[in-house]
């Protein structure tokens, strides 16, 4: 591959790479760093690229390895991350002032429940073992096939299937228990609460009913509801969407809270 073609391929994939990395790391700074390191590493190895996999698979392989190195030393988050971070946000006036400022001034500061659903999935997926989290994003959001994921993660097809199945089952179980959008008894109402704060003139219930995941919730088909949730993630670019600045600000808040939470629980 020529350097010119390489640069073009990298440019074509950079959006998906950044999106994947921010969802895996929950850190814009880490995602940016890993994308840069991926570029450097790939360029160094350009002569070894034989086209056995697509450039996208190749870039994701390098990026996933770098992300794994970055994340191995960090503690995984917990299933009730949104409870912990909500409690911290309620005690943090500055967080809400900043968020409101973004909401009022930024072209990427809209609040949309759909965006929050994707954001919420990002946070909760960090409670899965890393391999399960990686497999779910690679397959369900970035639409790699199982055999491509074996290349990206350097593991067997059997293990990719195991990670996918167990990760998916756990996420279905968590959302089924917590998410008030799909379970009337669910304890987490954050999309509705935040919509009320950021879009006070909207009828939140009406807005929520525009989302397929919510419309289909009554039917209670858990696998299907999970697929609809994944569809929401596929449709949203966390760096370019209308709500990106607001959601990334929220994500940074959660990352900092969870970092402190992990330090505290390690004491």
């Amino acid at each position: 591959m020529t350097t010119e073609l390489f640069n073009e391929e990298f440019k074509n994939n950079i959006g998906q790479l950044k999106s994947f990395l921010v969802r895996i790391t929950a850190s814009v700074a880490d995602a940016e760093d890993i994308v840069q390191d991926t570029y450097i590493k790939a360029l160094e190895k350009i002569s070894t690229f034989r086209g056995e996999s697509s450039p996208k698979t190749w870039f994701f392989t390098i990026a996933s390895n770098l992300a794994k190195d970055n994340l191995r030393a960090q503690k995984r988050w917990v299933e009730n991350v949104t409870d912990i971070t909500k409690a911290a946000a309620l005690n943090n006036k500055q967080f809400f002032q900043e968020a409101m400022q973004i909401r009022m001034t930024s072209p990427h500061g809209q609040f949309e429940a759909k965006e929050h659903i994707a954001f919420c999935f990002t946070c909760i997926s960090k409670s899965l073992p890393l391999e399960q989290q990686l497999c779910i994003f690679l397959k369900e959001v970035y639409e790699f096939k199982v055999n491509e994921i074996t290349t990206i993660l350097g593991t067997t097809e059997a293990m990719v299937k195991y990670y996918l199945h167990t990760g998916r089952s756990k996420m279905i179980n968590i959302f089924d228990g917590r998410c008030a959008l799909i379970n009337k008894e669910g304890v987490c109402h954050q999309c509705s609460e935040l919509n009320g704060i950021f879009n006070p003139k909207q009828n939140t219930q009406e807005e929520l009913m525009k989302i397929d995941l919510v419309k289909e919730a009554e039917k209670g088909e858990k696998e299907h509801l999970f697929d609809l949730r994944m569809q929401i993630l596929r449709e949203i670019d966390p760096f370019k969407s209308k709500a990106s600045e607001l959601q990334l600000h929220h994500l940074e808040h959660n990352r900092q809270v969870m970092e402190k939470y992990s330090e505290k629980s390690a004491e």
């Binding site: 199982v146 059997a158 299937k161 195991y162 199945h165 179980n173």
Partner: protein
């Protein structure tokens, strides 16, 4: 999880004065890595295994795990992982006995999963009647493992 009606394997128990040994075997049409992963991920047991109500700890050689089973809901069994041969053999147990799990590749893409538990000792006759039979629970365990492994293996 597997219902009793779906069970297609039969456990056997051999009793002597001082011991009791229950075994079950089943063919699983799945990669040994999947069966092993399910057997050794403690935090995931209750999701697929209807005979285990709680399993704490890490299934690693030398580690202790705390297991609660449907056989005796009130009792917590503290067990030590005594052997750990990836994709082949896992043994955990306590002073009363050992539970041995083996996975044998059949060469046709399937494996034979077996589990055996022998309990006994000189005092065995004193408490033998207080220990419930394991047969049904073993059959359920093996069938749950088969079902979950094959679902994963056949997933796209």
């Amino acid at each position: 999880m597997t219902s009793l009606k779906e069970q297609n394997t039969k456990a056997t128990t051999v009793r002597t004065t001082f011991s009791r040994e229950t075994s079950v075997s089943i063919e699983i049409k799945a990669d040994s890595a999947i069966v092993w992963a399910l057997l050794t991920k403690a935090s995931d047991y209750t999701r697929w295994n209807s005979t285990v109500t709680s399993l704490e700890g890490e299934i690693i050689l030398g580690e202790k795990i705390k297991l609660k089973s449907v056989l005796d809901a009130k009792r917590i069994f503290t067990l030590k992982v005594k052997e750990f041969e990836p994709e082949k053999k896992l043994v955990w147990g306590d002073g009363q006995g050992n539970r041995i799990y083996t996975i044998t590749k059949n060469g046709n893409g399937s494996v034979t999963f077996s589990m055996t538990e022998k309990i006994g000792g000189l005092m065995f006759p004193m408490y033998a009647k207080m220990i419930p039979p394991f047969d049904q629970s073993f059959e359920q365990f093996a069938n749950d493992l088969k079902k979950e492994s094959e679902i994963i293996m056949n997933s796209k």
